[in-house]
Amino acid sequence: MARAVTTNRKMINTAVAWLIGLLIFFPILWTILTSFKTEAQAIADPPIFLFFDWTLENYSVVQERSDYMRFLWNSIFLAGGSTILGLIIAVPAAWSMAFVPSKRTKDILLWMLSTKMLPAVGVLYPIYLLFIQLGLLDSRIGLTIVLMLINLPIIVWMLYTYFKEIPGEILEAARMDGAGLKEELLYILTPMAIPGIASTMLLNFILAWNEAFWTLNLTAVNAAPLTAFIASYSSPEGLFFAKLSAASTMAIAPILILGWFSQKQLVRGLTFGAVK
């Protein structure tokens, strides 16, 4: 039974919630607005909120000066590549753990999770050294592999929790009807697993896109993604607020949109199924 709520109380809730929501969102909103201002308007005192001369100039300047498209392409390559690679490795593993569990399944899952807890800075130099030895420093391939490995535990876990929800009886029925491993995978599990796989992809893409330890430390020019591109605005270009805002807006816009679709999966993915 739903609780009866007075309209009055609902109005107060709405007002307070919207106010706080907008306050939290304000830095993002302000960045987006500032990206359409001129530099002078961007630092005007008192700040101009909406009534300025909207311009797209900053966007073209950012692209001209710093070859934004190359960083964007690197981000897409790294996030997309590591996600796809991770799925190729994780789907069979999660499938077998969910449908053919053994005594050790739980230990393996927990151990995988524990590799995620290893502080990156503790293994920074070995990885750096290996990358130099293998000629992988500042290469997209090398970084794709690292990003895949750091997110692999999350991918396996998320897929495992999704696959677990597929009822085993369906599989048994299919086996009775003479379906082999191949048919089982292709015609029964894949269609049922696609929503889970899609959510996993989405969350993993976001995590890889925003990763800012390895992408900053293992790249220089060639493989640098948007995280590194923005870090280069640290000084002195960062003091040109309008251009910083344009660069920032372009770096976060795709992920903000994807993120809104993935908010439910976020909880499951980042708590390893402990909160659903």
Binding site: A2, R3, K10, N13, T14, I20, G21, I24, F25, P27, I28, T31, D45, P47, I89, A90, P92, S96, F99, V100, K106, T115, M117, A120, V121, G122, V123, L124, Y125, P126, Y128, L129, L130, L149, L152, R175, L181, F213, L216, L226, T227, I230, Y233, S234, G238, F241, L244, A251, I255, L256, L258, G259, W260, Q263, L266, V267, L270, G273, A274, V275
Partner: protein, 292 residues
Amino acid sequence: MATQQSRSAARIMMAPAVFLLLGWMLIPLCMTLFFSFKKYLPLRGDSMANGLEWVGFANYVRFVSSSSFWPSIQTTLIIVGGVLVITIVLGIALAILLDQPMWGQGVVRILVIAPFFVMPTVSALVWKNMFMDPVNGILAHLWKFFGAEPIQWLSQASLPSLVMIVSWQWLPFATLILLTAIQSLDSEQLEAAEMDGAPVHKRFFFIVLPHLARAITIVTLIQTIFLLAIFAEIFVTTGGAFGTKTLSYLIFQRVLESQNVGLGSAGGVYAIILANIVAIFLMRIVGKNLDA
């Protein structure tokens, strides 16, 4: 109903993931351990090929006795503790608020969780320049508007500023998880308490808070692991100056900036041990959940 055949197939399917993660964990870990017992200064000509000098526990002792060690521990504790307290307290408040009936709930939810999707370098730089800049930042304008002297945020109040930036990034995560947990609370239980005349604060402390206990623990543990490792936020704002050098950042500086690999590796081993202590608690909770 697993047959022998499907068991061996399962093992083969698991193998790539297991071996990759095993390699990813063991190889660098062994190298870090190895370096931590060696004198290794690449800029002074030390290299693996020439053989490294064994120095026993000297690096471990030096790392802990250096003048930057205890301040870095203090900084780490302030950042992790500060962010945890802020995100959990505000997260509970927000979760309760968002659980109330209102118009446009979905939109508010989106506004609140948006900061989580902003890449760390962007949020750090936007806060540093557009908000905390002592001349042109919004906060400086605001301070001047009220006739106060603008604060040099990242130099005079560097730690509170960092805590603020990082809390802004992690509040959505805490809120989202606590909201998910609060939505599973049986509303009839609350109604019954309300009918029995339990005041708001009693309903909160005796019904809502106990129900959230597990979610709060999980948020604490997961955030701690991520917060111990924050890097980009410090890298682009202060670069470790003004007392913002955390343990992770100190290790990063030792290893890559001053290229004292032996010393940095010893620090790395400390960081790994520290993270593992937190991890053990998290794994227990997650493991229990697997059985259920």
